[in-house]
Amino acid sequence: MGEDTDATPTLNHRGFLPDHNYVTEADIISTVEFNHTGELLATGDKGGRVVIFQREPESKTEPFSQGEYNVYSTFQSHEPEFDYLKSLEIEEKINKIRWLPQQNAAHFLLSTNDKTIKLWKVSERDKRPEGYNLKDEEGRIKDLSTVTSLQVPVLMPMDLMVEVSPRRVFANAHTYHVNSISVNSDYQTYMSADDLRINLWHLDITDRSFNIVDIKPANMEDLTEVITAAEFHPHHCNLFVYSSSKGTLRLCDMREAALCDKHSKLFEEPEDPSARSFFSEIISSVSDVKFSHSGRYLLTRDYLTAKVWDLNMESKPLETYQVHDYLRSKLCSLYENDCIFDKFECAWNGSDSVIMTGAYNNFFRMFDRNTKRDVTLEASRESSKPRAVLKPRRVCAAGGKRRKDDISVDSLDFTKKILHTAWHPNENIIAIAATNNLYIFQDKLNSEMH
């Protein structure tokens, strides 16, 4: 894995004021997702907007401008709503975006906020009909006396226009907050998961869904765990996994029963009793789970570690990677400033050889599963000039600065957190969301997967 990554120009999301301590909250990016070919990259933000970037095709004349991502379309996906029955405001923040595999010229994506999932169609229009008989060029009705001959309208090229339209709205199926959506490999169904339930939908049917997991106890006082993430297996359309706040993963087979409360496999690592603290439960809560592209492994992220699990081994993870273990002694202050509740996501590279996840101070980490090497990189304007090579960073214990560029644990900026990252499905291109900025890094030296 090459640590030498070129930095393409940072793409300013929107509304970034020069004084970077003041950030419009609506511009904070809340989800990032490449489509299946990697040609398109979608981001969702707290203001309910979706921005889609498209990769420019390679240009032979200007080799360095190959593969840059530019804004393709922007639209408002969700609006703030009010639930009058419960006197609750429903946030418009986009929690997740998932692309559907492309089946025709148009692209489709699912976006969800806390309660409602929407299917959007993204299509291009580059021709328009001209030469109507009854309307003029501006669309005004012509005076019939001026029409002396008939003409057949012809399609004339026009500037490319990207149209986005909502095709389906899947609403009113979740009492609790939706945290995940996942498209099934059958390309006909998808699931949505909230804190206590998972529903299975058909993409064409909006007025009903099947409940496939329900962990709500009869008495809410007995509640001990919630669902934190869920995903379908990439190849087996009957299998899915969901993670819990207790740090367990459950693999379920939809062929076994209509209601998959009983898991097929339970992945759980026995707790280390010596590591017990007030905050053990919080830091063991799984914030993200992702199947590997091969479907053989699972990647999970909890507060301090990232773990790779083998689907064939339930007793413990295959590999455990310490993301920022230096925070273990600071859990109390992280609890006070709420950072301990941060939900970090994780990502596989295309060949499942490298995993990536975010951390604080705009740092993100990559772990090579084969060489066991890891690197810490920073996503910031200061350290990422266009075409610059990212410099690996190091965090050292308080008071011990061995190298010039080391940063001490106490100087970490906990307001700068990288929660959302995405990896191109085939190439070494990564998208990093740092608060309201999107960074896209490409590995020019090793642009093909090895």
Binding site: D83, L85, K86, S87, L88, E89, I90, E91, K93, D114, N172, A173, H174, T175, Y176, H177, D195, L196, A218, N219, M220, E221, D222, L223, T224, E225, V226, T228, S245, P273, R276, F278, F279, S280, E281, I282, S285, C332, Y335, E336, D338, F341
Partner: protein
């Protein structure tokens, strides 16, 4: 654990409890409603802190009355977090588990909460808006209070008083 360490642990537990409770208050006015996951984690921390607090009180207090077997279970190993009683002692920790959203200031009496075996007469909509998360209007007696009543509740006195005040404060919220 000697008395000094027990005192430090005690202070730490109280501080974490105070922080947790203030977070609970703050989350009720959060946009988007109460977050179930967050509330659950908060209540777990509060429960751990309460257990640690009780166990450290046991140790630091003068060796007088024998503690009852029940509190001994939770205080024998301060490191353990097992909570024998299923019902949390605090009303505050009940609420986040039972109230995911929509209970701000809503203290109307909820018939369905009084007896779990009663059939709900309310029609359930597609969203299954079961109102079982609404807190009952009557103040609940802490289970701990009944059990501790026999040895005259030495260990959790001040903390119970603290929690009772919180109950009233939260009901009024």
């Amino acid at each position: 654990m000697n008395a000094t360490t027990a005192m430090e642990v005690n202070a730490e537990a109280r501080r974490i409890l105070a922080v947790s409770i203030s977070k609970l208050y703050a989350s009720r006015s959060q946009r988007g409603g109460l977050r179930l996951h967050r509330s659950l984690l908060l209540s777990m921390v509060m429960r751990s802190a309460r257990d640690i607090y009780h166990s450290s009180r046991e140790i630091e207090g003068p060796s007088g009355a024998q503690p009852t077997p029940e509190p001994m279970e939770t205080s024998s190993s301060p490191g353990e977090q097992t909570v024998p009683e299923p019902q949390p002692e605090f009303q505050t920790s009940e609420e986040p588990e039972s109230g995911d959203e929509g209970c701000d200031g809503d203290i109307t009496e909820d018939k369905e909460n009084m007896s779990p075996t009663k059939q709900s007469r309310k029609r359930r909509g597609k969203a299954a808006a079961a109102p079982d998360f609404l807190p009952s209007k009557r103040a609940r007696l802490e289970p701990g209070e009944e059990r501790y009543a026999a040895p005259s509740c030495r260990a959790g006195e001040s903390l119970s008083a603290l929690s009772l005040n919180l109950n009233r404060a939260i009901s009024a919220f």
